[in-house]
Amino acid sequence: MTAPLLCLQGLTKAYPGVIANNNVSFDIGKGQVHALLGENGAGKSTLVKMIYGLVKPDSGSMLLNGVPYAPSEPRAARADGIAMVFQHFSLFDALNVAENIALGMENPPKMGDLAKRIRDVSETYGLPLDPYRRVGDLSAGERQRVEIIRCLLQDPRLLIMDEPTSVLTPQEVNILFETLRKLRSEGTAILYISHKLEEIRALCDHATVLRLGENVGECIPAETSARDMAELMVGTGLKTPERSGRALGDVALDISGLSVPAPSEFGTGLKNLHLTVRKGEVLGVGGVAGNGQDELLAVLSGEVRSASDAVKLHGKPIGNLGPTDRRRLGVLSAPEERLGHAAAPDMSLTENAMLTGSVRENLVRRGFLKWRQAQAFAERIIEDFDVRTPGPGNAARSLSGGNLQKFVIGREILQRPEVLVVNQPTWGVDASAAAAIRQAMLDLAADGAAVICISQDLDELMEISDRFAALNEGRLSTPQDTAELTIEEIGLMMGGAHGMEVAHV
């Protein structure tokens, strides 16, 4: 290998109470796709933020082409040929593609010239994109292309990509990988952040594994098994969830002809949904983010009401009931957004246990709150779900993402739901916590509850669900047995081709 493009030497960054990066050193070669691998919270984001000039290291140094490199801000990093595609896009919905790209440039050329350059780059790298389309109308995959093209227009030497595939369908992932391989062949180095091992094995030349902020090993992904990499990442042997054989019971939840208007101009309405979930069954709902997942959860939790017989529990209409009445009947849910939706950030865990537990756990008598019982309930969640916290008096926001997620899911499961609806149950959760959460959902189903798991993690859905359906622009494909589905079929369902049959009208 020739001299490396970027050398990281002993980078350290501490935040109050946590060392995000501890003495991390590694090299990124020219024209290399370098994977940065680690669980959520392992320090990947902090590390790339230092490279991109968003965060200053407490100590340590970097060399770019052998020259000391210490960007004071992202603009300096870009000037040195380092570009980054963030996990969350920073685009204006109301502007078109070219306008969005011009906004991020130091000296934007004329709109016509820019549009031409965008077309050139998009054709060269196989990323079809019309510069005059409004960003609000683009899919998540197309938005990502805007961000990538924005970076490519700067001719970067190093392109950093933060979890780029989390919003893509399998087909879109393939297109992205083609583009990245082409960039590599032209000598551009790519720092690819992910925790999806198969992707890394397919794409990357070299991998650095971070755990708890430290570099715990390097490997050649193509020559290392996914399991070995996972164990390097987690530090211990991994336990995969077990599915015991379950007998499916009667239909628990029945949704028919459910339509809900979009909550805002750029939100997604639900259009004529049909689905049933039986006792003991796990139904997986996949789909690219922003296709109606939040709305589906809201309409099942009771935050958004619908026609009363569009949603039925054991044959009884519940569509017009609010959250409290649904909880009384045993329909419980856990939204995606942990802080601010599933839990109140500044309130204690006891108070957050009261938040959804008051009805089923009998924490209220004639309007008065039984705090002692609420605290006992919170303690039981902490105990049963291995939530790492000093105690139930701590604020929800003081917990790490994974621990709070365990608390939120545990809070619902311990209330013995008849139907449990979860959205992104393991988003931003480390692998061992994710495995525990999935196991808990499977155990719940084994005990006879119906579970609907909305997720963007296809591996997760394949692992736990009996049947699979995909949301696309607010429409739900016909649920099919997971065991019989191929990844191509799933991709088609997510992209909106509704199986072999014509969509319900």
């Binding site: 200053k56 609010g322 938040l355 309007g367």
Partner: protein
């Protein structure tokens, strides 16, 4: 370089300590202000804080503390419920006026009947007047999504016009020689809120203490109070928990209106005595400061109401004895709020000194 670091959770110690620090900082910087005005700062601070409580004429000022503090606390308690939930009733002054008008109206309607039912009916009338006035922004907000800040504030000026009209017309004292203003309710034994005028005790003081206890129990022990706090902390989580925003808006605005109305009624039938054109003197606005000074906590509001009353009375003494301009006293009161809000940062952030990094 000074660096602010966010604490993992709010510090309990600093929550209690910041009001004390804020008062001390106000004393230091207020003293500086008075010194620049050519007054003896120690003397001025002593006059404001010490004189009303323990000075030579304390026997006269101490009752004043109750008289000034009671309406502030009563109104601020009501406002704090809404403020906690992110519902901003800025028009307590108007609700205070309407409570006084309706309550006094009820009392005057019975004049000169001597009966124990007169005052209770006036209390109900006062609460109703304030409640009804607050229902206007509440219903408009619920039905049409109007901004309750603007509507409630504008209604203050409507109420002031009504007050003037009442003093000159409907409620004017028929034996008042043509002067504007109603009969004096303190001279109508069945209708006065005074319990013992010598010590400043009237029914408003009693109700203020009851309101503090009621709010404390509501917020800490009752589902409704929990929902109020939850809505303020995380509106989406509140909806997830099953809170109906509409009911909360009606309850919070209604309750704060009713309490402001009660304050108005107790004032007009006691310390104020009669409905006059300039009956209202800004308790409804000052109560907003009191609510925040007391950190929207019932016990905090009780203390803040006392402190605010103290600076009012002390300020007046300082004006008359030391010749301090009224504006200086207002700046002094403003400083108190400023320091409280500024030092509030310390509950959520830690201040660290760090050597400047070499770039």
């Amino acid at each position: 370089m000074i660096v602010l670091e966010k604490r993992p959770q709010p510090s309990r110690m600093w929550t209690l300590l910041t009001p004390v620090l804020a008062v001390l900082s106000t004393m230091v910087f207020g003293g500086l202000l008075f010194a620049l005005l050519g007054k003896n700062p120690v003397e001025a601070i002593r006059t404001i804080f010490y004189e009303p409580l323990f000075g030579e004429f304390a026997f006269y000022y101490r009752p004043q503390l109750l008289v000034k503090g009671a309406p502030l606390v009563l109104i601020a308690i009501g406002l704090s419920l809404g403020f906690k939930a992110g519902i901003w009733n800025i028009g307590a002054e108007g609700q205070y006026i309407m409570g006084a008008i309706v309550g006094a109206g009820v009392g005057l309607a019975f004049y000169p009947l001597d009966s124990i039912i007169v005052f209770p009916l006036m209390v109900i009338g006062g609460a109703f007047g304030g409640w009804a006035w607050a229902m206007v922004p509440a219903l408009l907000k619920v039905r049409f999504g109007t901004n309750e800040i603007l509507v409630s504030l504008m209604l203050v000026y409507v109420a002031e016009q009504l007050l003037a009209s009442m003093s000159l017309g409907l409620l004017k004292n028929p034996e008042g020689f043509g002067f504007p203003g109603s009969r004096n309710l303190t001279e109508y034994a069945s209708a006065t809120s005074w319990i013992n005028q010598d010590v400043g005790m009237h029914w408003g003081v009693v109700f203020a203490f009851i309101a503090v206890i009621f709010a404390y129990v509501l917020l800490n022990r009752h589902m409704l109070g929990f929902h109020i706090r939850l809505t303020g902390e995380a509106p989406r989580a509140a909806r997830f928990a099953g809170v109906r925003p509409t009911r909360l808006i009606l309850f919070c605005l209604g309750t704060s209106g009713a309490l402001a109305g009660l304050a108005g009624l107790f004032e007009v039938s006691g310390p104020g005595g009669q409905i006059t054109i300039d009956f209202n003197i800004g308790y409804g606005f000052t109560a907003i400061i009191v609510a925040f000074l007391g950190r929207l906590h019932p016990l905090g509001i009780l203390l803040a109401g006392g402190l605010m009353a103290l600076t009012y009375i002390g300020g007046e003494i300082a004006q008359s004895q030391l010749g301090l301009p009224a504006a200086a006293i207002q700046v002094f009161q403003g400083m108190l709020l400023f320091f409280l809000l500024a030092l509030d940062l310390l509950t959520n952030y830690r201040v660290r000194l760090r050597a400047r990094e070499v770039a």
